[in-house]
């Protein structure tokens, strides 16, 4: 493994027998102590009861264990995680189970000690018509009185606001016992239907907060849905009134810059794309350096031809008012983009690309899911590519009667602390060194010689499945 790249399979040895589809990972590294980090996936409590688990590392990602501390029955239906910058508080946005109705139930959670064994505290509990895909960000900022406060911003698709369902749950003081949160609608335009599930915030310590969402503009079937890609901004830590109203579109004068308009984004909730579904793919990140909050990167996926799913990466250097006319990167047949900028201004960009001949609803041994991590030291003009994983896209099969979606996930995560990039992705877990060109460490029992997984007894074979993989790159 190159000295500056670390890839670790998160499944601990005591769970060597598991073959769960552990997709849709997320990651939070504690900026105050980067040795402490947590990760999540669609991993159920192996005890088949009790709280949902998260993965925890206390040694900088070298080893991981699974801790059942999330108050949700066995697993969550969505989960994202983030630490405050210096408070040591961990926050989570989850869709909580059990299912009690059609309507997904949002919880925003907090703990100040992930190792205590105690369940996380519930700060927000909202259902109504339902809430989906909470994506949480947090930052610790000065409170103006010599102390500090945790600002938490959670993007979520809130069906209580129809059809403009893109909202942000914001707390300007989430570390306190009361932890007041306010829910703000960020889509102000007339819409032709509900916004897409991905609503993403990004926080800069100077008070700038960006939000991105996909606003539906037309569509009569799931195959012909069209969206605008919209970015909003708030300059007071999302505490303005109204919130997220600092950007207006130069054409229609309404709140939110339309970075791209009328893009075809089919919502196909079947295993159509390398056994994965498609329909809502979005990421946004702001340059964390002092005085650089005007530089922001945005990526989404849409269909530019007849069957593809294509990622576009663009950039703004004027606080989201205008955006690069041409893509900084265009990646055909790819999903799960995530972007981050480190303390030197290096841009990191991770995504998962389906290679081999592509035919919708069909996958073969010629198809692979390739997880790339690209970096740019010149603001996105030139890129250096690392392949973190290249794994068979047809294994494990996602066929009836055992179809489960998402296959790899509707998202993954990338973040930067100091000069280092930290990320997580899910992939086929065959312990084949050729699948991980920059190296990999498995905790679970395995043989790289026979490319086989073994149960805790070290003898019984275990089926290949989808696992989460942590990575760290120090450019």
């Amino acid at each position: 493994m190159p000295a500056n790249v670390m890839v670790v399979n998160l499944i601990p040895r005591s769970l060597s027998g598991e073959s769960n589809p552990d997709s849709e990972p997320n990651l939070a590294v504690n900026p105050a102590n980067p040795q402490l980090m947590v990760a999540s996936a669609f991993t159920p409590n192996p005890g088949r009861s009790g709280d949902a688990p998260i993965y925890v590392s206390t040694d900088g990602g070298n080893t991981w264990s699974l801790h059942a501390i999330v108050p949700s029955d066995q697993m969550t239906a969505d989960i994202t995680l983030r630490f405050g910058s210096s408070s040591n508080n961990l926050y989570a946005g989850i869709i909580r189970t059990p299912i009690v109705s059609n309507a997904p139930r949002l919880n925003i959670l907090r703990t100040n000690n992930v190792l205590s064994g105690l369940p996380m505290d519930v700060l927000v509990d909202r259902t109504g018509q339902g809430v989906d895909q909470p994506y949480i960000q947090a930052a610790t900022v000065p409170d103006g009185k010599g102390g500090s406060v945790d600002v938490v911003v959670c993007g979520d698709n809130d069906f209580n606001h129809q059809p403009q369902s893109a909202t942000m749950d914001v707390s300007g003081n989430a570390g306190t016992a009361r932890a007041p949160f306010k829910n703000s609608v960020v889509d102000v335009r007339p819409a032709a239907g509900g916004d897409a599930p991905s609503i993403r915030p990004a926080i800069h310590s100077d008070g700038t907060v960006y939000g991105a969402f996909l606003r539906r503009v037309s569509g009569t079937t799931n195959s012909n849905l069209r969206y605008d890609v919209v970015v909003v901004r708030d300059d007071k830590l999302a505490g303005s009134n109204p919130a997220f109203a600092a950007l207006t579109d130069p054409t229609d004068g309404l709140v939110g810059t339309r970075v791209a308009q009328n893009r075809l984004i089919p919502f196909l909730n079947q295993p159509v794309f390398g056994q994965e579904r498609i329909g809502s793919t979005l990421t946004i990140a702001v340059d964390p350096r002092s005085g650089q909050s005007g530089t922001v990167f945005l990526a989404w996926a849409d269909r530019v031809g007849k069957t593809d799913y294509t990622i576009h990466l663009v950039k703004s250097v004027d606080r989201g008012k205008t955006w690069s006319k041409a893509d900084l990167l265009t990646v055909t047949n790819a999903t799960n983009p995530a972007v981050a900028i480190n303390s030197s201004g290096v841009v990191g960009f991770v995504y998962q690309q389906l290679t081999g001949p592509f035919k919708p609803n069909h996958v073969s041994a010629a198809n692979r899911w390739v997880t790339h991590f690209q970096t740019s030291k010149d603001g996105g003009t030139t890129w250096n590519d690392l392949v973190l994983a290249t794994t068979p896209a047809n294994v494990p099969p996602n066929n009836p009667p055992n179809v489960t979606l998402p296959y790899l996930g509707d998202y993954l995560h990338l973040m930067a602390i100091g000069n280092d990039f930290y990320g997580v992705f899910s992939a086929n877990n065959t312990p084949d060194p050729a699948n991980f060109p920059n190296g990999v460490v498995f905790q679970r029992n395995h043989s790289t010689a026979t490319k086989t997984l073994f149960d805790v007894d070290g003898v019984t074979h275990v089926d290949v499945s989808i696992d989460p993989f942590f990575f760290k790159v120090s450019p």
């Binding site: 080893t63 264990s65 059942a68 299912i99 309507a103």
Partner: protein, 263 residues
């Protein structure tokens, strides 16, 4: 908390039940357990009931977290009723829900012919059966879309995509024995929120554990008041349906419950 609940009540709540001996106080078998003020190292002498992931520890020492660690001392032998807390590279840690000294009551927890995994599965199935409003066997005669056909495209990834099956009842094993036909709703969605729910098909015959009161119309409110007879039932749990020609947990249970009568 020892002894505040009966062994049977505790066994109903706990996943991992074992007879063990306390080896060390304020200690742990895992480096991830930093605060050992409420933990002890306990050797598992006999596993009584267990999910598969916890079934490998007979003869091994594990970490147990107690609400009140003063209630145990080194050398104590007890039956511990626990839930999973932490899975690491060096073993596991569990949370204690309570413990009892070994005796006739704890000995009765495990039928001698069953392994610990099967024992827990059977207990779960029995609880699931007890929670069902109706249990029937029958044949699916139709499956249709349920919902507003004029509704626009849904971009909700957790949309259940409801279907409605009509079942001709052969036999009622629990519930209203006057029914001859019943409507069963199930989510066709393969989303992670619903993928384990049975996907019913026309022509299938089998056993149904049916639940009323679930709102399938899109809000958090219950569809019918508690105690009222629903006009449809749902199957959401993987054990809510079992094919007749693939005997599993439901048929095994029915064969053990007097008066439920399997065909």
């Amino acid at each position: 908390m020892p002894n505040t609940s009966s062994p049977e009540d505790l066994a109903d709540k706990a996943r991992f039940v074992f007879r063990g001996k306390v080896e060390k106080l304020n200690a742990a078998t895992l480096p991830e357990v930093r605060d050992t003020s409420k933990t002890a190292v306990v050797r598992v002498e006999e596993t009584i009931q267990s999910p598969k992931a916890l079934s490998h520890y007979t003869g091994h020492s594990i970490t147990v977290q107690f609400a009140n660690p003063a209630e145990v001392k080194v050398g104590d032998e007890a039956v511990f009723f626990t839930d999973a807390w932490l899975f690491g590279n060096e073993g596991i840690a569990v949370r204690s829900l309570g413990h009892h000294p070994p005796g006739p009551q704890t000995a009765a927890l495990r039928p001698s012919e069953e392994d610990p995994i099967t024992h827990l599965e059977d207990r779960d199935t029995r609880k699931h059966y007890d929670g069902a409003d109706m249990v029937v066997s029958g044949r699916i005669v139709s499956v249709r879309l349920f919902g507003d056909p004029k509704a626009g495209p849904s971009t909700r990834e957790h949309d259940p995509d409801w279907r409605e099956a009509v079942v001709d009842i052969d036999q009622v094993h629990k519930g209203d024995r006057g029914k001859k036909e019943i409507v069963v709703r199930f989510p066709a969605s393969q989303d992670r929120m619903w993928h384990k729910a049975p996907k019913l098909e026309v022509g299938q015959s089998g056993y149904f554990l049916l639940h009323g009161g679930f709102n399938t119309t899109g809000t958090e409110a219950r569809a019918v008041p508690v105690g009222a007879t629903p006009d449809f039932y749902t199957v959401l749990h993987p054990e809510d349906f079992e094919l007749g020609d693939h005997p599993g947990q439901i048929q095994k249970l029915l064969s053990r419950i007097p008066g439920t009568g399997t065909r």
